[in-house]
């Protein structure tokens, strides 16, 4: 079956010749019209549209946005904050970068509609430190929107007002975790908070109710307010509504970003047709479907079980190529859609070395607060680095697995899982490669083989 056409909703103007990131260009293309209409409606109606839309968070967890909003404590009398998670730090993910650099007003319009709907007092965009240009573009865009009365006090004569500020991070992956991000925004080390009691919806920024949403998620809100929740829910597939930006990197002919209706495109269509297949003379070996912490998939393996289609339960028997790229299908086969970052590895890559690279990342980024994660991620890095640069033993795979198995579920935040899943899945699926790595390493290999550890 041929791949479906892209459905560019969020990325409609990305890379469009002549499209610039200033407010004049945005308004020429219909920008801020949705906000104009939104402020004439009741905030509760807008919240209801988002609930009906079925929108799920695009940052990683896929949590329903409408539910997140409905959990906000509105009785405490404390101000409500909106924090935009623009930390985009999951390896393999590079979608929010393009929104902020090329179409920042789409994000600002989405933020203001979300703020109006939730009666937010003040919004912060927490942007990763490695996007200095993005931060400048956003600051300029906010100033333009303020001058045009779309941001700031009494917007469009509605009586509602809200400021947006840009806050730059400083290179720490853990700031993508929402409670770590909040600590960072409070000027502290980004140590994630324990839940309960520190659910951001109740005790977030400055111990006030706080909504943390990803950049792409807030852009979707603009389109939901535009067409209505029910119409939006018709895009995509049931339970996995709307469009999704898939970022493909690694060993394909055409890496890049592609926006599809969620679940309408399979992994095989994405990699073979949209991205042009493997590099010349190569075959696909493994793919990580949702950012580097998602469990790896091995080409050639089969996934079998029963799934719900409409009201019926039907059998499925899928290869990697058959998996629909949506939240539920990827979760069903034991991995996740995560942040939409698809990393492809072909038969030139040693899985031991690829895991060594991933382990070095998580060891560098563990915040150090919980012992199992701080020590476990470090030892997993040390073991894989020793396998690559020193002596590799057949039992190292089992040793790695034993370390990983003692991290997940024993930490304050999901980083514990994020750093354990790569090791657990690499060993489960490529165990023989770990057992035989000493021999494989001794064999001659092509000079162009890239170093990974």
């Amino acid at each position: 079956m041929p791949a479906p056409e892209q459905h560019r909703l969020i990325f409609r103007h990305i890379d469009e010749p002549g499209y610039t990131n200033d407010i004049a260009c945005y308004q020429k293309n219909g920008g801020y019209e949705v906000l104009r209409k939104a402020v004439l409606r009741k905030p509760e109606e807008l919240m209801d549209e988002v609930k009906k839309s079925g929108l799920r968070g695009r940052g990683g967890a896929g949590f329903p946005c409408g539910v997140k909003w409905s959990l906000v404590d509105r009785k405490s009398g404390k101000p409500i904050y909106l924090v935009v998670n623009a930390d985009e730090s999951e390896p393999g993910t590079f979608k929010d970068r393009y929104i902020m650099h090329q179409d920042p007003h789409q994000l600002i319009e989405g933020i203001m509609i979300s703020c109006f709907a939730n009666k937010v007092a003040c919004a912060y965009i927490y942007i990763r430190g490695e996007f200095p240009e993005g931060a400048k573009i956003l600051e300029k865009a906010i100033a333009e929107a303020k001058a045009a009365n779309f941001v700031g006090g009494n917007i469009l004569g509605s009586g509602y007002g809200c400021e947006i500020y840009v806050h730059r991070g400083a290179g720490a992956y853990i700031c993508g975790e929402e409670t770590g991000l909040i600590e960072s925004l409070e000027g502290k080390r980004p140590y994630p908070r324990i839940k309960p009691p520190y659910f951001p919806a109740v005790l977030g920024l400055y111990q006030c109710p706080t909504i943390v949403n990803n950049v792409e998620t807030l852009c979707h809100v603009k389109h939901i307010a535009d067409f209505g929740g029910e119409a939006y829910a018709k895009i995509g597939t049931p339970g996995n509504t709307g469009t999704r930006i898939l970022c493909v990197s690694g060993h394909v002919q055409r890496p890049g970003y592609y926006e599809f209706e969620v679940g309408k495109c399979t992994m095989g269509q994405l990699l073979n047709e949209v991205c042009g297949g493997p590099l010349p003379g190569r075959t696909f070996k493994a793919v990580i479907p949702g950012g580097s912490s998602a469990k790896v998939l091995k080409f050639g393996e089969r996934y079998k079980g029963k799934r719900k289609v409409g009201a019926d339960m039907v059998d499925y028997d899928w290869g990697v190529e058959d998996i629909p790229m949506d939240f539920d299908s990827l979760a069903m086969i034991g991995s996740m859609g995560g942040s939409g970052g698809v990393i492809v590895m072909d038969d030139s890559v040693s899985m031991v070395e690829a895991l060594g690279n991933i382990n070095a990342f998580y060891s560098h980024e563990s915040c150090g607060q919980c012992t199992p994660c701080r020590e476990g991620s470090l030892w997993m890095k040390k073991i894989t680095a020793r396998m690559v640069h020193g002596t590799a033993r057949p039992e190292d795979g089992a040793l790695l697995k034993s370390v990983a198995d003692q991290i997940a579920g024993r930490t304050i935040c999901a980083f514990g899982e994020a750093c354990a899943w790569p090791t657990q899945s690499f060993i489960a699926k490529f165990g023989d490669e770990f057992k035989g790595y000493a021999q494989a390493k001794a064999a001659p290999r092509p000079a162009e083989t890239p170093e990974l550890v």
């Binding site: 390896p91 393999g92 991070g169 400083a170 000027g187 502290k188 890239p450």
Partner: protein
């Protein structure tokens, strides 16, 4: 502390963005580092006083967040992405090429003071790997040949006239 007047006015402005002064510590660290090139002990104490904090509250940020540094670096800061998508496309080779071009080790100031080459984690542009940032500017698809070109450009820009 000898900060530029423009830095001082930006510092005063940014503090107004937050209901709690402590929130401004990351922005102040960025501003001071941009002004001075690094964060000195004196700067840590100055920022702490400015925000009515103890110096340890600022020092613990400098030691945690990878982007802050306590020592001067070379005149250009070359950051090469080390993470998976870049590595499988040759990021390590790109990094060695920069080191070779400036005869320097990772994280050091090159002998002529031109650059500091560093490996950093994911720069979020994985589709155009390998990725390099030189100061605030992003460079895409930087293979070894492109690393040589960029190095020559830096050398030419820094050469005395």
């Amino acid at each position: 502390m000898n900060l530029k007047p423009e830095t001082l006015s930006r510092i005063d402005e940014v503090i107004t963005h937050y209901p709690v002064k402590r929130s401004a510590s990351l922005p102040l660290l960025h501003l001071v580092q941009e002004d001075q090139g690094y964060v000195s002990q004196e700067a840590i104490e100055w920022i702490a006083a400015k925000l009515e904090l103890q110096p340890i509250n600022v020092y613990e940020l400098v030691t945690f967040y990878p982007m802050f540094r306590q020592k001067p670096i070379g005149r250009r800061h070359i950051k090469v992405c080390r993470t998976l998508s870049c590595a499988i496309m040759g990021g390590y080779r790109t990094c060695s090429e920069f080191q070779k071009q400036f005869n320097t080790g990772l994280g050091e100031v090159s002998p002529g003071g031109e650059v500091t080459v560093e490996f950093v984690e994911c720069l979020a542009s994985c589709g155009t790997a390998p990725i390099v940032m030189i100061d605030d500017e992003l460079h895409q698809k930087v293979d070894a040949a492109r690393a040589r070109e960029l190095s020559n450009k830096i050398k030419a820009e820094l050469a005395p006239r």
